[in-house]
Symmetry: C2
Subunit: 357 residues, 2 copies
């Protein structure tokens, strides 16, 4: 991992030159730390905003300023491992503001995973250097898509559906949290590949959007009489590929609707993320797995890191052709990151939840 400096929140007397610089350049950096471990759904008071000056750059380092910051479900899971006082995890799309690396001149757009921060000092000579935006990234696409359809959520949909589930023409694909950043793309790729796309989401507005996107069937899981009945109606021939973002009881129910030799991608478990013990929800669906000879595959998109360039190229192509549509739920202002994060966890967003700095 690239080192990330700039964590100091106090300034000692030895830092005169740096203080002088900060007065001259006024490069003040902000970041959010986890003030206390989340108990259930995070609260705004669980986060603390820390302000500090950025350090001088060493050879090979760059100072990047965030343009967009991402809030994603996985951050709730990863946060369990963070000590109090540590910068909240997350991904940013940023631009190089100062550079001591010829490979990353000022203005270069990059994506980094150094958490909720306005600025970061990154070592470009590290084994895992910052990821540049693709050289052919279309000028008319917002850079925020580097955190969405052309970033981790889009690649998760792409590799999950095509490499992990191996969805084939004519098969029924079911995805939950379908109006989210990943789910909405899963359904659209399924349609491109000649599959029947079925999605569930948590509001009528989301369901309406899914239908606009071309989903063959979609339902609001909060208002249907039962998930069983809704699945029976939406996927009367059963489900061949299940892209699971939700986990828990929801998944235990869905597995009963799978066809023989069905495949299940275990991608996320947002229904369980705020539980003290995320394993406590939902019984082990042994009977369905064995009886229907299902394959369940847990995956993280980094499994296909070597193929990300092809995945991004394909996503950009489909977006340009109008085959993949996207929507963003934009929150303005770095100070509102906790609010945006909590809103995403309770499902306020349609499409990708993003914070614009």
């Amino acid at each position: 991992m690239a080192s990330c400096r700039g964590q100091r929140s106090t300034v000692g007397p030895e830092c005169v030159s740096r203080l002088f610089k900060s007065v001259v350049n006024m490069v003040k950096s902000k970041r959010f730390v986890v003030a206390r471990h989340f108990d259930g759904l995070p609260k705004e008071s669980d986060f603390q905003l820390v302000e500090e000056e950025t350090p001088d750059l060493k050879d090979g380092e760059i100072l990047v300023a965030s343009i967009f910051s991402s809030v994603d479900p996985y951050m709730r899971t990863l946060s369990r491992r963070l000590s109090e006082g540590v910068t909240m995890v997350g991904e940013c799309c940023a631009r190089v503001a100062e550079s001591k690396s010829s490979d990353f001149p000022v203005g270069t757009v990059i994506v980094h995973q150094y958490g909720w921060r306005t600025h970061a000092v990154l070592d470009t000579e590290n084994q895992d250097p910052p990821r540049k935006a693709p050289a052919d990234y279309p000028k008319d696409l917002p850079l925020s898509l580097l955190l969405g359809a052309v970033g981790i959520p889009g690649l998760t949909a792409y590799f999950g559906l095509l490499k992990c589930l191996e969805a084939k023409e004519g098969e029924t694909v079911f995805v939950n949290a379908a109006a989210g950043a990943t789910g909405s793309i899963v359904g659209q790729i399924a349609r491109i590949k000649g599959c029947k796309a079925v999605g569930s989401a948590g509001s009528d507005a989301k369901v309406a959007w899914l239908k606009e996107l071309g989903f063959d069937a979609a339902f609001n899981y909060k208002t249907v009489s039962s998930l069983d009945a809704a699945l029976k109606e939406a996927a009367p021939n059963g489900i061949d590929c299940y892209f699971d973002n939700v986990g828990g009881d929801f998944t235990t129910t869905v597995l009963n609707h799978m066809n023989l030799y069905g495949r299940v991608a275990i991608v996320g478990g947002i229904s369980t993320y705020n539980d003290k013990d995320p394993s406590s929800k939902g019984a082990f669906p042994y009977k369905a797995i064995q009886g229907k000879q299902l394959t369940l595959i847990g995956f993280v998109v980094s499994r296909w890191l070597d193929q990300w360039p092809q995945g991004k190229a394909q996503m950009m192509q489909w977006i340009k052709e109008g085959k993949i549509k996207y929507r963003e739920h934009v929150t303005e202002g770095f100070e509102n990151m906790p609010k945006a994060f909590i809103g995403m966890l309770v499902g306020e967003n349609i499409g990708k939840a993003i914070v614009k700095l």
Copy 2:
């Protein structure tokens, strides 16, 4: 499916010729029916022995007399679907006693799946004719192995480990119920393939046998301080392939010991078979599946039906070479089938539980 006649238990006045025949040939057939649905562990009184004469053969039919009858864990699961009064499900190794089929002359050894019965009339012109013993079945091997190492339990181990788990040299394979008909072969094939074989079983005598068979590590799950501690000691580098015959809480624990990209074959769930709701035991191990990017595969050995001949040939070869050893737990007498079945469910057997008629 081949039709199976001879279910009548009363004889009407129209059957004089058949009665005469039965007096002359004395071919009395016995079978066990499910007298009442099992509540938890089956009891001997849940089964009823029915005696009847065998019907006359039509063209293409054969009368077979069972030599060995199998008792296997899967029968407890399948029994849930049986109505009261129906013949108990199961597999037999039988010999043709009368024949109206030139393809199946008297004396031919076959395997059929028409349940707990001393005799059966089978239609050989059916789409799914009786399976003959392999033509090159070694004369010095007991025919009972057609229900064990060279039958479904052996093939389950073979295809489960090699096709489903794709166990590779140097990997650690863990199997539970390891002293059973399938588990004992899983560990031995793992050793043949250069894997580290780890097994668990329910008695010290079973564990001693596993060590004789060449398992690298084995433990008695009933006497270890905890399954967690036992797995840590037996598989200190983690588990790559898990062949699961047990299910429930046991599996939830094992998944925490899997390595990244580990594979799990969901083959059986004997710890749950006697429960009213087999799904009630063990939480959905979402976190381990996703975090370690595990693949769980439910399978039934018939998935590889087209490759059974190669599988049987390989098993016979390994047995002849002494690379696969087997052990049988033989109960004498058809009348003792319920006792043998119940004994197998509570783990009395070491190796394959079989009934000799």
